[in-house]
């Protein structure tokens, strides 16, 4: 019995996993202005940490928790030298970092199977359950995690802290002379963003149940960037919708080719479409589909009620 619904639910799971990555990059780039091109590295740390622990028999909650901290820690360590550099160099350094990490995982077999990769048990340990139920449980787990990450992100950006990181994004020097230890804020956001990527990596690994170094190529980082740019940097809801859009495009091409006559083969077509979209967005609507969200704190309330004194 084929189940097109399962294919749709499968897409929904991937949307959830990537939405977490998009929110994490949004914190770093959309709000703080950090051009992190090594997102896949921290995703990979989360995935491998979680998988190694799961294979050792630890319950999934432990696996994902340790994975989150591991990814956050690696992010913190990576940020220390990288953040001292200017924005353009940060992009290159983070990209290189990702590749170096992947190289290490590929060559050091003792870590996790090296090039052969490792299989990973699912987070769901009950058996004898129909696949539709399994999918629904997976969806619940992934979207619960997404909700938590979204909540955390919103709390951070709708606060004086959130105002400060935006100020740093706009003009670092001005923020400095207004008393902000810019380096500290950047390091904190980079760490938080990396930890969130670790959450996503852990969820991903238990869902696909097989990971190898070829799974974590830089193209994954660029896919997440597309989601942020299209959805609208500095709008958490926007980037989540960006994730929906990009995933739909990736999957859609494969389905569309059965019904429409496509000019180019679907694999290349979806890459082309996304490339063209990015160019159009950057030319005509650089703020993305959704505008930057305001800093929502009690200050807004005070401002709206303000009456002139004089």
């Amino acid at each position: 019995m084929s189940e097109p619904l399962i294919y749709v639910l499968d897409m929904a799971v991937f949307v959830g996993i990537f939405a977490i990555l998009a929110v994490s990059l949004n914190l770093e780039y959309g709000f703080t202005g950090l051009a992190n091109f090594g997102k896949v590295a921290f995703f990979m740390v989360g995935a491998y940490t979680s998988s190694i622990l799961a294979n050792m028999g630890f319950p999934y909650l432990a696996c994902i928790t340790v994975a989150t901290f591991a990814a956050g820690f690696v992010g913190f360590v990576a940020s220390l030298p990288a953040l001292k550099l200017q924005a353009d160099y940060l992009a290159i350094v983070t990209l290189a970092f990702g590749e170096i990490l992947r190289f290490i995982f590929k060559n050091e077999e003792w870590i996790a199977g090296g090039v052969q990769g490792i299989t990973v048990p699912s987070a769901i340990t009950i058996t004898g359950v129909p696949i539709q139920t399994m999918m629904l449980i997976q969806l619940t787990i992934v979207y619960a995690a997404l909700a938590i990450c979204y909540f955390i992100a919103q709390r951070v950006v709708n606060s004086p802290y959130g105002r400060t990181i935006r100020a740093i994004r706009e003009d670092e020097l001005a923020a400095q002379v207004l008393g902000k230890d810019v380096f500290k804020y950047k390091a904190q956001m980079f760490t938080l963003g990396s930890a969130m990527a670790g959450v996503s990596g852990s969820l991903f690994s238990q869902y696909v149940r097989f990971i190898d170094p070829y799974t974590f190529e830089p193209i994954l980082t660029f896919t997440v960037w597309m989601m942020v740019i299209l959805g609208g940097p500095a709008n958490n809801l926007g980037v989540i919708l960006g994730a929906v859009f990009v995933q739909a495009l990736e999957r859609g091409a494969r389905i569309a080719k059965d019904y429409l006559l496509l000019p180019v083969d679907p694999h290349n077509l979806r890459v082309m479409i996304i490339g063209i979209l990015i160019i159009l967005i950057l030319m005509y609507r650089p703020q993305g589909l959704f505008r930057e969200s305001k800093v929502k704190t009690p200050a807004l309330e005070v401002a709206s009620k303000w009456k002139k004194r004089s």
Partner: protein, 444 residues
């Protein structure tokens, strides 16, 4: 007595009588009404009960009849189902091929083997008279994409059999899902020994021998020639490492140096120096065309043609001769193994003729195993008589015992691996100024 008193008394008596009569009459009326009501009520009630009961009975009877009829019909329908083959009108066979990405060029060619089998089957009227519909999806040589493409074939198209995927990591990525969804997977090209260990006794099959065998073949070749100081030089990927591990198993501490290299480096003098310094007698080598060309050219420069190189099939092919130094090196120092069908097979001849007729050129590597995989799938479906994954899997195991395909006897062992796989031992000769590959032996 006087008359007025009598009249008065009479009047009073009469009035009294009238009053009593009236009262009695009225009282009687009411009493009569009440009694009449009671009697009437009782009679009416009794009759109503009888009539109502009868109606309910009728209703119950008719409803009961309806329900009984429906259930009876359903059961009868099930029981009355014919026991013979009930294949769908169109039989879907899915295929996961690398049509883009690193193995894209190779995949475009291998796809032809699958398509040829389907064409032949349909020309003969399909399976039990039903045509075969082939649905091909591109995996882009990426395990994540392979899983997504596989899910599309299974959930959206409803395939119960899939030919492919090509690369071993792709098979690893879809294995668990295939077993869960009970979909038969037959890969014509994935050779990693890890597939045997990770997916034993389940829905994963392959029509090409595991590299565990090729590793053994290479090692045995070294043993037969009496080498005792051997190096391994392999690609840093599942293909190379799989063979290296098997060779180590067989040769033990005769292997004094193990090198894994990155094919994209395009400069291997460091590795070659290590080999030179180690002073080995032979090198077991696993490489591909592009890196192999550079490797052999540089090996020639460094004078490493005085040791015996024993290579796996990755460097077997005309493209190696594009680089003159590599060709020369191969002629001087390289022998190797490659999986082949037993020679003189009439089934191979028939396949090759059919291929040439259809596509205008001779078949190359792995189109034959792809053809065999597809044919086996069709036979299994036919034998199962139902388009059901579990039944097709059991049938596949069985029909493989009796199938001699383009690449020989394709019997699967209990792990879905090829029970037998033959390898040819080859070398390179220069004939009339042109280099060519020549077979010099067999394994086992």
């Amino acid at each position: 007595m006087n008359s007025s008193a009598t009249t008065k008394t009479t009047a009073v008596l009469v009035a009294l009588i009238i009053v009593v009569a009236v009262v009695a009459g009225v009282g009687g009326y009411f009493a009569g009404q009440s009694a009449g009501y009671d009697a009437g009520y009782k009679a009416g009630y009794d009759k109503g009960v009888m009539a109502g009961g009868a109606k309910a009975y009728e209703k119950g009877k008719s409803e009961g009849y309806k329900a009984g009829y429906e259930t009876g019909y359903k059961e009868g329908l099930k029981a009355g189902k014919p026991k013979g083959p009930t294949l769908p009108d169109k039989i879907k066979i899915g295929s996961l091929m690398c049509l883009s990405g690193f193995l894209g060029p190779m995949g475009q060619k291998i796809k032809l083997g699958v398509e040829l089998a389907v064409k032949e089957i349909n020309r003969k009227g399909g399976i039990a008279g039903r045509p075969v519909e082939l649905i091909v999806e591109d995996t882009a040589t990426d395990p994540k994409t392979a899983l997504e493409a596989f899910k599309k074939l299974v959930e959206v198209d409803g395939c119960k059999v899939v030919i492919g995927p090509m690369a071993s990591p792709e098979v690893m990525a879809i294995g668990k899902y295939a077993n869960e969804r009970k979909v038969v997977v037959i890969s014509p090209t994935a050779t990693s020994p890890k597939i045997t260990t990770e997916f034993p006794d389940d829905y994963i099959f392959r029509t090409v021998g595991s590299d565990a065998l090729q590793g053994k073949a290479l090692a045995d070749t070294a043993l037969k020639k009496g080498f005792t100081k051997i190096a391994t030089l392999v690609l840093n990927n599942p293909y190379g490492i799989g063979i290296e591990e098997k060779a180590k198993e067989v040769l033990g501490d005769k292997i004094v140096l193990s090198i894994r290299y990155d094919p994209t480096k395009m400069d291997f003098r460091t590795e070659l120096s290590q080999i030179k310094d180690a002073g080995v007698e032979a090198v077991i080598y696993v490489g591909w065309y592009e890196d192999g060309q550079v490797m052999f050219r540089q090996a020639l420069e460094m004078g490493l043609d005085n040791i015996q190189w024993i290579a796996a099939e990755g460097v077997y092919g005309e493209p190696m001769f594009k680089v003159a130094d590599a060709a020369e090196f191969m002629k001087r120092a390289v022998i190797g193994t490659r999986p082949i069908a037993p020679t003189g097979l009439i089934t191979y001849k028939l396949f090759a003729e059919s291929f040439k007729k259809e596509y205008g050129k001779a078949p190359t590597m792995y189109q034959d195993t792809a053809y065999d995989a597809t044919m086996l799938a069709a036979l299994a479906i036919a034998y199962a008589g139902q388009y059901d994954g579990a039944k097709i899997k059991d049938a596949l195991q069985y029909v493989s015992q009796y199938y001699i395909g383009a690449t020989g006897h394709k019997m699967f062992d209990k792990n879905g691996d090829q029970l037998t796989q033959f390898y040819e031992i080859w070398k390179v000769e220069k004939v009339d100024g042109k280099y060519k590959f020549v077979g010099i032996g067999r394994w086992p």
